[in-house]
Symmetry: C2
């Protein structure tokens, strides 16, 4: 929506000042000088926001000094034996293990498949590692192993191997899963988080905030009679459709898991050295999800999804991309919700439902721990 | 050693009776009818012995129903984009994080590289997933991240990507690492755990029992003034040498980690439907390791290694294989320690230092939890 333009001059002035400040902050915290200086690990380091970025960019990436890690994408790409492969890994520590719309086993497969899909790779195979707490009920384990098998069949990915470890009672919380997926990068895909240029449009694949909300409801953290289900799903069919309809126009795909859409946009704006402007009103959110977020004082843009992604697309491919997405189950509400602009590097602005604009920074702290 | 042959007839009779019993037990617990019936997960399910086998063969493998899993090897093999790739995954929950001779970071890389090497694959890339406990000291994390980077450089494997999760204080024990490695299967390698035939010889790559003993010493579980260090090392150079010297003669390679040499032999005997006879006196063990094992009432054959492996080789390639191994650092004491025989399927016999023979079954229970 366009909003009230009355005090536009004033707002622009305030905005410009804020942009400068934000730019400095971002330059310090996330630029080439990113340093990991915290004395201890906190929940925020696992939240997918600022602290996670500092840990990864300030410690892990420079220490490993690997070309594949420079892009900080959802999956690394490697050439092996003549094949161009994407490889991704994820740990799953979601609490509780089962929640409306899914469970840790389904999440583990879909999360892995989706990271491959975001790299433009068709899912090939995956490994599954289980860390189990002594005393875990076998029925719980069996249900999750079956959930893994079902989700893998749906996604068309083969389980190639695994590992099982048991730790003493109290040394983990029931069951953690870690997966790694590999797939072949589709020939139609030319994706990179640093490929965005001003004029590109930003597409959201569907409704947001449902996974994080479903987890909160399952934990009984607030009283909601509503039936909110996790959006966990395999996104390869959506990516396949996108590649077919707009392959050469696609700049980058990123699923909006931990840290939500806001964190994805910040990562991409930073990686490409561009600004973004997105419109809150063009992002589909269920009223119950918006209500729950308001209760918790969180913007739905920061709430985790497990079946929604952002696509940055050259303007020429936007209509075809949206049309292709809408034909895929779970993406019927796909739409353009913003664009890439030529402004301060890394700045993401959101036009709110009230017509104002504000900076949408990376997630700070961890309002919703262990959602995946 | 050959041992006392005086009461050979008697022994053979007892042995024959025992073979039948063992055969029945193995047939029930590990054959086609393997069922996972335990109500809860116990430490034994993570020990790499009988309970682990039941969990994998009775629940995981049949549920995932994947061709790659049927072989139950250290790594799955998949054809992707025209390349023949090995893929392996491992969770590391070792306690304590640092121990004489290594630490979790080094172990995570070497363990991954070694699983690839055992599949005849040259290490290519790996992912690293961290599950961290809230409150973990950053210095501890930094040391382990650096240990990962160092070990990866030594092994020539690239870190392709990773994941970080944080769980609340008390929901894990400081730091767990999960890795997945991929590599290209070497053209010289034609390896399979089901390829063993009577007449093949069994080679041990070097001294055994040092990793498990080092962990026990580090935990202060008994008083030992001795300096026992983990044997954690990258085994690809050893495998590369073996493939060069005896490639077509190699049947299978298996590193003797959890469950030790005894478990590896049982797995291979079962997978190939053969018997084995090994000679205790031909397995190199440091006196201090043997002493520690005796104190704990454990056979060193069941103690975990992180840099020793068993190679099953056609007799014609045995001398070349041993000679090649001895030229590689860490494998100077490689030797033939047994052979594959035409006896009851899955039966492993050991000729003891006293000249007797006894069944060397899979590990039961978990005398040394969380050694990797």
């Amino acid at each position: 929506m366009s909003g009230d333009q009355a005090d536009d001059g004033d707002r622009q002035a305030r905005l410009s000042e804020r942009k400068d400040t934000v730019h400095r902050i971002i330059g310090t915290a996330r630029g080439k000088d990113a340093r990991f200086r915290d004395e201890r690990i906190t929940m925020a380091h696992g939240a997918g926001g600022k602290a996670t970025a500092t840990l990864i960019e300030g410690l892990l990436a420079p220490t490993f000094a690997s070309p594949a890690l420079k892009e900080l994408a959802d999956a690394g790409v490697i050439e092996l034996g003549g094949a161009r492969l994407a490889m991704t890994c994820d740990a799953f520590v979601v609490k509780p293990l089962r929640f409306p719309g899914g469970s840790i086993g389904e999440l583990a497969v879909n999360g892995t498949v989706n990271d491959l899909a975001m790299a433009g790779a068709r899912p090939g195979g995956m490994t599954l590692s289980l860390i189990m707490e002594e005393g875990l009920a076998s029925d719980v384990l069996r249900e999750e192993v079956e959930a893994v098998a079902r989700a893998a069949r749906t996604a068309g990915i083969e389980i190639l191997g695994g590992d099982t470890k048991v730790v003493e009672r109290g040394a983990c919380d029931q069951l953690y899963m870690t997966t790694t997926g590999i797939g072949t990068v589709d020939d139609r895909a030319r994706l990179s988080p640093s490929a965005l240029v001003p004029g590109d449009v930003l597409i959201i694949s569907g409704r947001i905030g449902e996974h994080g909300t479903a987890i909160m409801v399952a934990r009984g953290e607030f009283e909601l009679g509503a039936d909110v289900r996790s959006d966990t799903r395999c996104l390869w069919p959506a990516v396949d459709a996108l590649l077919g309809a707009a392959g050469p126009h696609l700049r980058c795909l990123r699923d909006a898991t931990r840290g939500g859409v806001a964190s994805v946009l910040n990562e991409l704006a930073q990686a490409s050295g561009v600004s973004m402007l997105v419109r809150e009103a063009d992002v589909p959110v269920l009223p119950v999800v918006a209500g729950a977020a308001e209760l918790l004082g969180i913007d739905p843009m920061y709430v985790a999804n497990e079946g929604a992604f952002v696509a940055a697309v050259a303007a020429a491919g936007a209509d075809a991309a949206v049309a292709a997405l809408r034909g895929v189950e779970g993406c019927e509400e796909a739409r353009v919700f913003g664009q890439v602009e030529d402004g301060p590097e890394g700045l993401v602005l959101v036009e709110t439902g009230f017509g104002g604009r504000r900076v949408m920074d990376q997630l700070v702290g961890d309002p919703l721990p262990r959602i995946c």
